[in-house]
Structures are given as C-alpha cells and as structure tokens.
C-alpha cells in the first residue's frame, strides 16, 4: 500500500459549506487500489501509469478534460473495459488483496462486487420490478423474499414512493432521473461493495441531478463510490477526494495519453491545488 503517495499530510482547512469538507479521514481502508495502471486500446496507450486508492465509504471523483482517460480508468475498475476490442490493462488493480486482472480471476465475479451506473440511464425493457430482480436472479442470490429485496433497493435509491404503485409497469415509462435512480437501485440490489458511476447526471436536469447527488451521500454510508464527472461543481459538492487527470503527449509515440496529475481531498484540490495544471483546469483556463 503506497499510502504516502495517495494521501496528503494533514493540513488545516477552512470550514466549507459542503458536507464533505470536514470529512478528512485517512483511517478508512483502501478498498480498491490501482498500482501503476496503464490501459491500452490495441497499440494506443490511453492511460499511463495511474496509481490511486479508493477508500471505503468515501466518494472519489475523477475529473479532467475530455480524452484524459478518466472514464477508461473507471471502466477498468470492474473490467467493463474487457468488452472493448483490443483493450488491455497493465499494472495491478487490487481488490481484497487480489489483482482483479489476475490469471484466475473471473471478470463476471468482479462485476458482481463492483457495480456500475452508466452515463445514459439504461433500464432494461422490462417492468420496474423485474429491473431490480434481474441482478439477484442472474447471479443466483439466495433471497428470502424478492418483494422485500425490490422494496429495499428502491427505498435506498429514494425511488420507492414514486413507483410503489406501478412496479409491474415498464421501466421505460419513467422519467430520465427516475430511470437513473432505478439503475442505481438495480445496482445495489446485488449488494456490491463498490459502485462506479460514469457521469451519472450528464443526461439529467438539475433537479434530477440534485436527487442523485443526495442519494450518493446516503449510499456512501454503505458503499464505496467512484464517480466520473465533467462537472467540477458536482465533484466539489459530492466527493470526499478528487483525482484530476489530464492528457499529455506520450514520451515515445507522441500520442496523447491520460495521466493522473493530482489526487487529494476535494477541498484541498479545489482550494489549494498543488499542481499548476490542476489550478488552470479548475479555474476554467482550459478543458
């Protein structure tokens, strides 16, 4: 565990209006730890030597300009990148003392424990009930009462009251924000440890976005959340820690490749960034 690299010496921080400012806790264990992760698509190196750890019950935001590889990093965390032709990961991603890209590791087993919420709400063309029940059914979860499980998942996703009278109706009839909360409910129904969110609010209006952000604060108590966002205010609002990525020309090929510039407490990264590039980005000078 390269703790020194991931954390920052404790510094006093002025109180901020956000809920996360006072959460500066280095004792939470690292759940998911990237060690020198490089990600390739064929010959193209999309991400170069990223090292960072995601801590339990924290929300970590990945921010940066387009093409900086933040989504690629996120998708490699539960091996969704395997689905892309020619995608390849070097380095190690440690989850429960095991490299998820290890020889004997089943990608499907990884995805059962590290769930994912996508950019565009993608409910299945099934009933609301079946959307939630789908995950537990396919992974063969032992469930005493599926009805209870569905209710609990929807309740935790703050959707139960809105849909309890139409569980048998198609999920495609829900609004975009409801669909996205349904996708979150669907993800927590299989009881993962980590939830990855790939720009979960980019297709939603501000009110739906606010609901999802509130929900994330609720979910943080039970899960570890990693979120990719284009929206710096969102990162500042929801995330305990933030990692800033940017794209640099590769030393050997000259192609642009994603690198991690700075990783710190959100409040620290936004108020007193250590790196000039971070400062330029968050002050809107590029990206």
């Amino acid at each position: 565990m390269n703790d020194n690299r991931h954390t920052h010496p404790t510094v006093s921080i002025h109180a901020r209006a956000t809920a996360v400012s006072d959460r500066m806790d280095d004792t939470a264990p690292v759940v998911l730890d990237c060690e020198d992760v490089s990600i390739y698509y064929g010959e193209f190196r999309a991400v170069t030597e990223v090292s960072l750890g995601f801590r339990r019950n924290e929300i970590t935001a990945l921010i940066g300009p387009s093409g900086c590889g933040k989504s690629t990093v996120l998708r490699s965390l539960n091996r969704m990148n395997d689905l892309v032709d020619g995608a390849r990961v070097e380095g190690r991603i440690i989850f429960h003392a095991e490299d998820i890209y290890g020889k004997d590791v089943d990608a499907i087993a990884v995805r059962r424990r590290i769930g994912m919420v996508f950019q565009k709400p993608n409910p299945f063309p099934k009933s609301i009930y079946d959307n939630i029940a789908y995950g537990p059914r396919v992974i063969g979860m032992k469930v005493e009462s599926m009805d209870d499980l569905v209710e609990e998942a929807l309740t935790r996703a703050a959707l139960w009251d809105e849909v309890k009278d139409k569980l048998k109706q198609s999920a495609l009839g829900l609004s975009g924000g409801q669909q996205q909360r349904l996708c979150i409910a669907r993800t927590i129904a299989v009881q993962p440890e980590v939830i990855l969110m790939d720009e979960p609010c980019s297709a939603l209006d501000p009110i739906a976005t606010m609901k999802i952000e509130d929900l994330m604060q609720q979910l943080r108590r039970d899960y570890t959340i990693v979120i990719v966002t284009h929206n710096m205010q969102q990162a500042a609002r929801v995330a305990d820690r933030t990692a800033f990525f940017t794209a640099l020309p590769d030393e050997t090929t000259g192609d642009r490749t994603g690198v991690l510039v700075e990783y710190d407490y959100t409040s620290k990264l936004f108020e007193r960034p250590a790196d000039k590039r971070t400062e330029d980005y968050i002050s809107g000078r590029f990206g």
């Binding site: 539960n78 059962r112 994912m116 396919v138 495609l172 669907r186």
Partner: protein, 306 residues
C-alpha cells in the same frame, strides 16, 4: 426533359412540381427531375400491373370462392374439385418449416451477432455468404435438397419433411438476417447494464437481449415464412406435384401445397380448373396479406423506443 425548366407549363409542369415537392432536399437540376419522373413511372407501372393482376384473379375466381373449395378434394371434374389437401398441405409444410428453421436461424444469428469475432476472416466469409444465400433463386434449394436426398438414398421425395427441409434452407438466411438486425437494434447499453450486474454473456442474451429483440425476430420470421408459403419451384422439383385425395397427416405424409395446386390447375385445358386456380390464388393472397399485416402489427405494437 433534360432541358425542362421550372417555367414550363402544362401536364409536364404539374408532374414536375409534385415530384420536386416530394424530393428530399428539393432537387432542381433538370437531370435529377427527369430521373425522378422516370422512377415515378416505374412505380406507377408496377402498381398498375399488380392491380390488373388482382382484378383479373378476383373476376376469374370469385365464383368458386366458396366452402367447397376448402372441403373438397381434387377431382377430374372441375365442378367437384376443391383445394382442401393443398390448403392443409401448405399448413403442414409451413408449420414444419417454422419448427425446423426458427431455432437454427435464431441461434445462428445470436452467434454471429453476439459472440463471433467480427474481425475473424471465416466469420466475415460466413456473414457475406448468408447475405448471398438470401438472394439465390428458390429452385436451387430444391435441387440441393434433391441431391442430398439422392446421397442419403431417400426414394420417396413427396414427404412433408422433405418439402419443409427445402423451404427451411430457402428462408434460413432471411431469418438469420432479420434476427441479427433485431438484435443489433437493442442498444449496447442494455447489454452493458446486464454485464455490469454480474450476468454472464449467455444470461445477458437469453434474459435480456433476445426478449427485447423478439418483436423484430417475430416480424422477420413471419415475413420469411410467408415467402416460403408462396414458393412452388423447389417443391415441384421434389415431387410436390401430385394428385392427392387424402389429408396430409404427418411428417412422412404425402402432400401438395396451394402454389402447386394452382400451378397444376392452371395447366389444365378446362375453364373450370382455371377458375379453381384463381379462387385458390385468392385464398393464398389473403393468407399472405394477413401474415404481412400481422408482422406489421407486431412491429408497430411492440416497437421499443429506447
């Protein structure tokens, strides 16, 4: 027409305007307008031909379109004859074709669309040839089946399963192509959502992608089967042109089908048989139209708006 301009008057200008109004992007060059007019006349000609044909059949056959057509067996006397065995034979052959083709066609499409490596040379060759097979004249499939039967020493060709085998091969490419298109229409996000929950690729296909694609597959299957229903050529090669006075009653049973019965009666000299052929044609047309209508209904009713 090449020299025509928008200022020209008379009938030409009228056609001219209406064509221009409909053309996407408002074609204005004389050459393209001339071309559009040619296309328009082609369509008109085809429709006219179809309408004349339909009216002709209706006038010829409506007199014999009665219950006897459905209940009577063929006879040497046109007044006593009916198409009962042909109608039942068509049902038997098409039913058997559906049972034989759909599982194989859908499975092949799932493999090609969801699992095969698209960059693999063999898979690309298979893909190209599925497209090609869909365009091969149907009689070729009759010859192929004939050759295969000879190879395996099957002497009695006039059996329901033999006819169904030929028609299966004929519409298999159609089913495969339709199923692939239906699967392709299911957004990738649905598959990703399923996989991200820890579903296996097979679970994803059978519990998610395939059910979502089912309306499209049903539409394609019905259209494929209606093509098979109208085919006479491969079955003629396979001894389907027989005089039957019994109902087909199994896979090994002798059979004849509506298109063959029509072909048979049309070749007779008596006017009465021509009327019977026209009446059977009406039955066949109605069945085909109903199948197509059903396909359109399913497509519209269950169309998924992602």
């Amino acid at each position: 027409m090449v020299t025509s301009t928008p200022t020209r008057h008379g009938m030409g200008a009228l056609v001219h305007r209406s064509v221009r109004g409909r053309a996407k992007g408002g074609e204005t060059s004389p050459r393209s307008i001339a071309f559009l007019i040619v296309l328009w006349f082609c369509l008109l000609f085809a429709l006219l031909f179809l309408v004349v044909l339909l009216i002709n059949i209706w006038v010829d056959g409506v007199g014999r379109l009665d219950l006897a057509l459905f209940t009577e067996y063929p006879s040497s006397n046109p007044d006593d004859a009916g198409a009962r065995p042909a109608i039942l034979g068509s049902l038997w052959v098409i039913g058997t074709t559906a049972v034989m083709t759909l599982p194989i066609g859908v499975a092949a499409a799932i493999h090609l669309e969801e699992f095969s490596d698209r960059h693999n040379l063999i898979n690309r060759a298979v893909e190209l040839n599925v497209q090609n097979l869909a365009a091969i004249p149907s009689v070729i499939y009759g010859m192929l089946t004939l050759a295969a039967l000879g190879l395996f020493g099957v002497v009695n060709k006039n059996q329901v399963w033999v006819g169904a085998l030929a028609l299966s091969m004929l519409i298999l490419p159609v089913i495969i192509i339709a199923t692939r298109e239906a699967l392709r229409a299911v957004p990738a996000e649905i598959r990703q959502g399923s996989l991200a929950l820890g579903a296996t690729p097979l679970q994803t296909v059978f519990r998610n992608t395939l059910p979502a694609a089912l309306p499209g597959i049903a539409t394609g299957a019905i259209l494929g089967l209606s093509r098979a229903l109208g085919e006479a050529a491969p079955l003629l090669l396979l001894g389907g042109l027989v005089f039957l006075r019994f109902d087909p009653n199994g896979l090994m049973s002798g059979y004849t089908t509506m298109p063959i019965q029509i072909f048979n009666w049309t070749g007779r000299p008596q006017q009465g048989f021509h009327e019977l052929a026209a009446a059977t044609s009406i039955v066949l047309l109605v069945v085909l139209l109903l199948m197509n209508a059903l396909a359109i209904y399913i497509r519209n009713r269950y169309q998924q708006r992602w």
